[in-house]
């Protein structure tokens, strides 16, 4: 039984980690090694790809910073907007809350790619193209449904008597949020934030259409540009190196918040 289980885990792990490891391998292999995988070479391992993208014009870390700025601010904006909305939904009448939640689920399921032409038009009208922080607007808007739903579920899990007790002690609404709700909702807020951050970090079509200045590109667009930079060849190595670099911040984030992600995602699953 136990041996079977570890085998199963090994299969799943290689299934999900395989492509990543391949990418890692590719990023450190010389072009020649990639083309002739089984022959023995003097220069199989190389840092050329990393060197080339980091010395590119603009250097690759610039995109990392761009993405970081966009994702951090979008996430903050999303949480700032979603938290009051989620709180309000849990305190509304049952009927209204149910209707709103159903609407939010629909909105969350809507394929947002369909919106990108309209959004492009929007950016053109209001002159939002080539502004890094302007991306926060569509990102925060698109993240709202999911963020509100997760946060509302977490707030609903808190006994209302906690807030009642605080009100009787003289807490204002803001004081209840600051001293009671936020500390207790920490895990839920963290996991929501990470989901939103992931979305912003990976988002492609809107970033592609809103930003054209090569100094301001976000990672997905920049990586796609590297992949398509030459008509005659595909720069596999540079492409892989870029992906590896783009994944590192995410991995750090997940490792730091591992615990609260798990507890946040499973909140509401079991009553304490």
């Amino acid at each position: 039984m136990n041996r079977f289980r570890s085998l199963w885990i090994a299969i799943l792990l290689s299934w999900s980690l395989g492509p990543l490891l391949w990418q890692l391998y590719t990023s450190f292999s010389s072009d020649q090694a990639l083309l002739e995988p089984l022959t023995s070479l003097d220069h199989r391992w190389t840092l050329t790809h990393y060197r080339s993208i980091l010395n590119g014009e603009p250097p690759f870390w610039k995109y990392l910073v761009n993405s970081l700025i966009v994702s951090v601010f979008s996430t903050l904006l999303t949480l700032v907007l979603a938290f009051p909305a989620a709180y309000a939904i849990t305190r509304l009448g049952k009927k209204i809350a149910r209707t709103l939640s159903a609407g939010l689920v629909l909105a969350a399921l809507f394929p947002f790619v369909l919106l990108f032409l309209a959004l492009l038009e929007f950016a053109r009208t209001f002159n939002l193209g080539n502004h890094l922080l302007a991306l926060c607007m569509p990102y925060a808007a698109l993240s709202q449904p999911l963020a509100i739903l997760i946060l509302a579920a977490a707030i609903r899990d808190l006994p209302t008597e906690l807030e009642d007790a605080a009100r009787l002690e003289g807490f204002s609404l803001w004081q209840r949020v600051r001293w009671i709700l936020l500390p207790l909702l920490g895990p839920a807020i963290t996991s929501t934030g990470i989901l939103v951050f992931l979305f912003c970090w990976n988002e492609y079509p809107i970033a592609l259409t809103w930003i054209s200045d090569s100094e301001l590109l976000t990672l997905p667009v920049a990586i796609a540009r590297i992949a398509g930079s030459s008509v005659y060849s595909v720069p596999y190595g540079a492409y892989a190196a870029a992906t590896v670099l783009a994944a590192i911040p995410l991995m750090i984030l997940v490792i730091i918040f591992q615990k609260s992600i798990v507890s946040g995602l499973t909140s509401g699953a079991v009553k304490s």
């Binding site: 007790a165 009787l168 807490f171 001293w179």
Partner: protein, 323 residues
């Protein structure tokens, strides 16, 4: 400061939760709200606290009409059934936070928290989280929090219901001592009539949102105004014998006695209650309960009778007391 409710009603949609409830609780007096679940007793507390707003009627604290005053401005000290302690804070943190919100300086806060912890005998638990405490300790923290609020009125919502029977009995005098010596009105919700009789100066029996009877524990027991109250107050339960003339006679089990004449009965069950015993008898009027000395033994033929001035007469249809 006297707490007064006048004709308080509360509706959720079309559903009437409370109808025309009026009562007065004087400083240092304890009013117990009792009744079956769903009778509106917890709702009454929420209305007094300001967590819900009455549909009609007014609530007064002293001379002030507080009906429209927000709960955070009302200064009531409430102990919730679940205790509602802040789970992320230590015992001291739980007690201190409210003081901090109300703008009390740090040194004074520390002194007050220490004082109240001493009063509820939890000084050695100050740094623990609520989850690390026993039920009785949590209850005392919740009580300490209410004490620190320096309230005009105390509201206790089934403060003992999460404790086991023995602990409840031990804590009752302690709670009474801590709360009642404050000389504030106390409203105590419970579904346990023993607890109500032990704690309260007045008991309000609620039924479907209406006040059935408001009286002292003794009066409630000796002169129930309705069949409902007669059945609700007193264990073992009162015996009810319907008559042909539209009255129902109620006799407490201890008022029944074994006799040579009277209603013929058959013994079907005996229960020892320690100092005495309870017999369940079968008669032409249905089952009768009678309490007897512990050494009583059944005869071949049993008859029971009672002193007519110990009986209660009710109108069978309306359930109201006749005499």
């Amino acid at each position: 400061m006297t707490l007064t409710l006048t004709n308080v009603s509360f509706k959720i949609g079309d559903q009437e939760i409370l109808r025309d409830l009026s009562f007065t609780v004087k400083p240092g007096e304890c009013l117990a709200l009792v009744g079956p679940s769903g009778c509106g007793k917890s709702t009454t507390l929420r209305l007094i606290a300001g967590l819900d707003r009455p549909t009609s009627g007014s609530i007064y604290l002293g001379q002030d009409n507080v009906t429209d005053i927000a709960p955070d401005k009302r200064r009531v000290g409430m102990v919730f059934q679940s205790y509602a302690l802040y789970p992320h804070l230590s015992v001291a943190g739980n007690l201190e936070l409210g003081l901090r919100i109300r703008g009390i300086t740090k040194s004074l806060r520390i002194r007050k928290v220490q004082e109240v912890l001493q009063r509820v005998q939890l000084s050695d638990r100050a740094s623990l989280r609520p989850a690390q405490l026993s039920g009785g300790q949590r209850q005392r923290v919740a009580l300490a929090r209410a004490l620190l609020r320096d309230p005009k009125v105390y509201l206790l919502d089934e403060p003992m219901s999460n404790l086991d029977a023995q602990l409840r009995e031990e804590l009752r005098p302690e709670l009474k001592h801590l709360i009642l010596k404050e000389q504030k009105p106390v409203v105590y919700v419970t579904h346990d009539q023993h607890e109500a009789m032990a704690m309260a100066d007045q008991i309000a029996v609620l039924r479907d949102g209406r006040l059935e009877q408001l009286a002292s524990p003794t009066m409630l027991y000796q002169k129930p105004e309705s069949l409902f109250v007669a059945r609700f107050i007193g264990r073992p339960q009162i015996n009810l014998i319907p008559k042909d003339d539209g009255t129902t006679i109620g006799i407490r089990p201890e008022s029944l006695r074994l006799d040579s004449v009277g209603i013929p009965c058959r013994l079907i069950e005996r229960e020892w209650l320690g100092s005495h015993q309870l017999w369940l008898l079968d008669s032409q009027h249905g089952h009768l309960r009678i309490t007897l000395p512990a050494d009583a033994e059944p005869n071949e033929t049993l008859h029971v009778s009672w002193n007519t001035n110990e009986q209660h007469c009710f109108n069978t249809d309306t359930g109201k007391r006749r005499s």
